[in-house]
């Protein structure tokens, strides 16, 4: 049997495509958590993004409105979380869980009218270059703009956190909100912004699922990806580049185990389905063992409410 080299390229491209929503949501949540806020509502924000994107695409027939609308929907629902946790000082964990339950419920309700409607084709870039270079062609070219954005995002996030003043302020707030506040930094404002940004990225991740990856609306279509995104943030020890690695491993194993099931490899299906979860976590734990570095990159105030008293 001769394996077409472009076929391998296509498999790698499909792995990358399945990693996109994880990268987007994780990088958003990473910024939120770096400011000290633990938002467990990623799954809920993603599914809201998914239904909003799909519904807006169907109703307005404009992809741009749909994509930005999905991000805006993520921002809106995360505003609820921000208001509750930052203004009313509720518990991060409970509020985040409620957000996920709320998101899944409301998306199913809105989505009733959109089940079974076919999606629109999302334009891809550099389609023509795909066949020119073997192997690399299908990997590098012929993807949507969101795909390219997702693979740039970990590097942008890393640069933002390490090299920019605002990134420094975000890290400072996550390290010690009390000190930041005494330095004249508006902790609440910074945290609001980081929560809203996380919401936008989760919304975009959801829109990618319902508009590009599998262009249709299916109830509960995020299927736990929000939780994987959360786990990636923690196990990558808040490092965007490691999120990229983790998302690729997870996406890769998900795709490969599908193919293995299809070929009929004699390994129990349950084990194959569990494989991506186990391997991703093991790999991330192994590459992030340095306890000193963990201490330096873990936001010390993560999940703790900050209340400024006068």
């Amino acid at each position: 049997m001769i394996i077409d080299i472009n076929f391998i390229g296509l498999i790698i491209a499909s792995i990358m495509a399945s990693a996109v929503p994880l990268i987007l949501a994780s990088c958003g949540e990473l910024i939120t958590e770096r400011s000290g806020v633990l938002n467990l509502g990623v799954e809920g924000m993603m599914i809201i993004g998914a239904i909003s994107g799909f519904a807006l695409m169907t109703v307005t027939e404009s992809l741009i409105i749909a994509v930005f609308g999905a991000m805006l929907a993520g921002v809106l629902i995360s505003t609820i979380f921000a208001f509750l946790t930052q203004t009313l000082i509720t518990n991060h964990v409970a509020t985040g869980l409620a957000l996920t339950i709320f998101g899944i419920g409301i998306s199913a309700m809105i989505g009733k009218n959109f089940v079974g409607i076919p999606g629109k084709e999302f334009p891809v870039l550099f389609e023509g270059l795909k066949d020119i270079i073997p192997l690399l062609g299908p990997i590098l070219f012929g993807h949507s703009i969101v795909f390219y954005f997702a693979f740039a995002l970990p590097f942008i996030t890393s640069y933002f956190l390490k090299k920019t003043k605002i990134g420094l302020i975000v890290r400072a707030v996550g390290d010690s909100p009390e000190s930041a506040s005494n330095q004249g930094i508006n902790v609440r404002l910074v945290r609001y912004a980081c929560i809203l940004y996380g919401g936008a990225m989760s919304g975009l991740a959801g829109a990618y699922l319902s508009m590009i990856y599998t262009p249709q609306w299916i109830e509960n279509m995020t299927g736990g990806r929000g939780w994987i995104a959360l786990a990636l943030v923690v196990f990558s020890t808040w490092n965007p580049i490691k999120i990229l690695i983790g998302a690729m491993i997870f996406g890769g194993l998900t795709i490969i185990q599908f193919h293995m099931q299809a070929i009929g490899v004699r390994i129990p299906v349950q084990f194959l389905t569990a494989l991506p979860y186990i391997v991703t976590i093991i790999v991330l734990v192994v590459i992030s063992r340095d306890s000193r570095k963990i201490r330096l990159s873990t936001p010390s105030s993560l999940g703790k409410s900050f209340h400024k008293d006068n």
């Binding site: 390290d175 010690s176 009390e178 930041a180 005494n182 330095q183 004249g184 306890s291 000193r292 330096l296």
Partner: protein, 496 residues
């Protein structure tokens, strides 16, 4: 240029407490001012008002005749008021340079040059590119000071700056402060340590219960006069009688080693010491040099090798705290509300947490509430805890009362050995006196104490023997009479 700072009729009221009651003060540059008072006297509130952290209910602040509106720390910074807080406002996981650039509008390169100039001028040496958590307390304080100096402040406020410093670091700090003062920066120095006021300052303002009690020049005062103003009554000074030298060994630690998984804990290396009956062994050191690890090992929170701790001819290194209590050991940990008591639980419930077997607090798994309450009342009256209500949640007790309750709880079984860690940390002079008296009485009853403390004066007052812990190693054990605070300071800094 001359700087004049005026506080005019400042009042700040919290529910149930007047933190600042119509306080007016005036400061001029060229002098170092002390703001002296016990915990809760209102001095911290006052300086937080000056630094914009707290907004006063009434009153005004003038800098060179300009009325300042200080609604946030940013306003204080803009008006050239610099403040070094007692609890550092640093970001531990960020590098020194990142900590400094975060509130500066300057470019990286020009800021670096500026910092280098400041460090050269005042003889500071700090690596700008390592994370702050790798710095010593003294270095962290220098970072805070540099942060203020970058903005060329007119006023520099230091809040209890020496509580974490060694003697050497303290005298270095004093030299720097004098230099700043000569250069025209107005220095306000907040403390409850009388010795420092006498050493450093030119004028002193004393506060008590939110009110300004007196303002005077240092040359007209002495330690006793200031102490009496601070407490509001004449304090009797207590002295320890020389202990009868006994050679009856009670506890012996042999070749104790501890290696921590956590990189921010200190490893202990080759700890050997023994304590005789009726003796108090003091262990001095700057906080973070292994004291808390040593305390946890002695109390059984961390289990060690069975043979490494011999108590009353039993090897107990592998026993947990509860089992050790049965051998008549007792423990008073450093953090009163985190480790010694549970803040949300009532006084008598906290007392019951020491469920030593002899107490009959529990019958077949049921709580014997009457017994516990009776016992709690006895502790409260025996140990002078200022409350009648044993149903009160322990978080509402003042630090001094809580410490008395904890020590009382530990002592009511008349243990052979009490191990305490910073027992008077953060307490006011009256409570400190009481705790010290209690500890001296323990020794007089031929019982022993291991006193781990960062307060050298306390150690010199109470100990028969003293050792110093530095980076997890214990110095040789010295007789207390042969030791001076200077010598301790040198050992605490790591020199021989």
């Amino acid at each position: 240029m001359n700087t004049n700072l005026k506080i005019s009729n400042v009042t700040k009221i919290y529910p149930g407490c007047v933190a600042n009651d119509n306080v007016s003060l005036e400061f001029n540059s060229g002098k170092i001012y002390a703001l002296l008072g016990e915990n809760g006297a209102g001095k911290s509130t006052l300086v937080k008002i000056l630094s914009g952290v707290i907004i006063p209910d009434e009153g005004k602040i003038y800098l060179n005749e300009n009325n300042l509106k200080l609604n946030s720390p940013l306003d204080a910074k803009k008006n050239d008021i610099g403040m070094v807080f007692q609890h550092f406002n640093l970001f531990e996981t960020l590098s020194v340079f990142e900590n400094l650039i975060i509130d500066s509008d300057e470019q990286r390169e020009s800021l670096r040059e500026k910092i280098d100039t400041i460090m050269k001028k005042y003889n500071f040496s700090i690596d700008l590119d390592i994370p702050v958590l790798n710095l010593s307390a003294g270095q962290k304080q220098k970072v805070e000071i540099i942060r203020c100096l970058i903005r060329s402040p007119k006023v520099l406020i230091m809040d209890e700056p020496t509580s974490v410093l060694t003697e050497q670091e303290t005298s270095e700090l004093f030299l720097s402060l004098k230099k700043f003062s000569e250069e025209g920066i107005l220095i306000i120095y907040i403390t409850h340590k009388l010795k420092e006021v006498m050493q450093l300052c030119d004028e002193v303002a004393v506060m008590r219960r939110g009110k300004l009690v007196s303002v005077s020049e240092i040359k007209n005062e002495n330690i006793e006069s200031l102490a009496n103003k601070m407490v509001g009554q004449n304090l009797k000074t207590i002295k320890k009688k020389k202990a009868k030298t006994s050679s009856d060994q009670l506890i012996k630690i042999t070749n104790l080693n501890f290696t921590s998984e956590d990189p921010f804990e200190t490893n202990l290396m080759d700890i050997n010491f023994s304590v005789n009956r009726g003796e108090c062994l003091g262990i001095a050191g700057i906080s973070g040099n292994g004291q808390s690890e040593l305390f946890q090992i002695l109390s059984g929170e961390i289990i060690s090798e069975k043979n490494s701790i011999e108590f009353n001819n039993n090897y107990i290194g592998d026993l947990n705290p509860q089992e050790r209590r049965e051998y008549l050991m007792a423990f008073s940990p450093e953090d009163r509300l985190e480790q010694a008591a549970i803040p949300q639980m009532k006084i008598f419930e906290n007392v019951a947490l020491n469920n030593f077997k002899s107490s009959n607090f529990f019958n077949n798994g049921l709580i014997n509430e009457n017994k516990i309450k009776e016992h709690s009342k006895k502790i409260i009256s025996d140990f002078n805890v200022n409350t009648d209500n044993i149903e009160l949640k322990s978080q509402f007790l003042s630090g001094g009362n809580l410490q008395k309750l904890i020590i009382g709880r530990e002592l009511i079984t008349s243990p052979d050995l009490l191990i305490c860690f910073n027992p008077t940390w953060g307490l006011d002079v009256g409570a400190i006196n009481y705790i010290h008296e209690t500890l001296i009485k323990i020794n007089e009853k031929n019982k022993s104490i291991i006193l781990i403390s960062t307060d050298t004066d306390e150690l010199l007052k109470l100990s028969d023997k003293i050792s110093v812990i530095h980076k997890g190693k214990l110095s040789k054990i010295m007789n207390a009479e042969e030791v001076t605070s200077e010598k301790l300071g040198i050992l605490m800094g790591g020199a021989n």
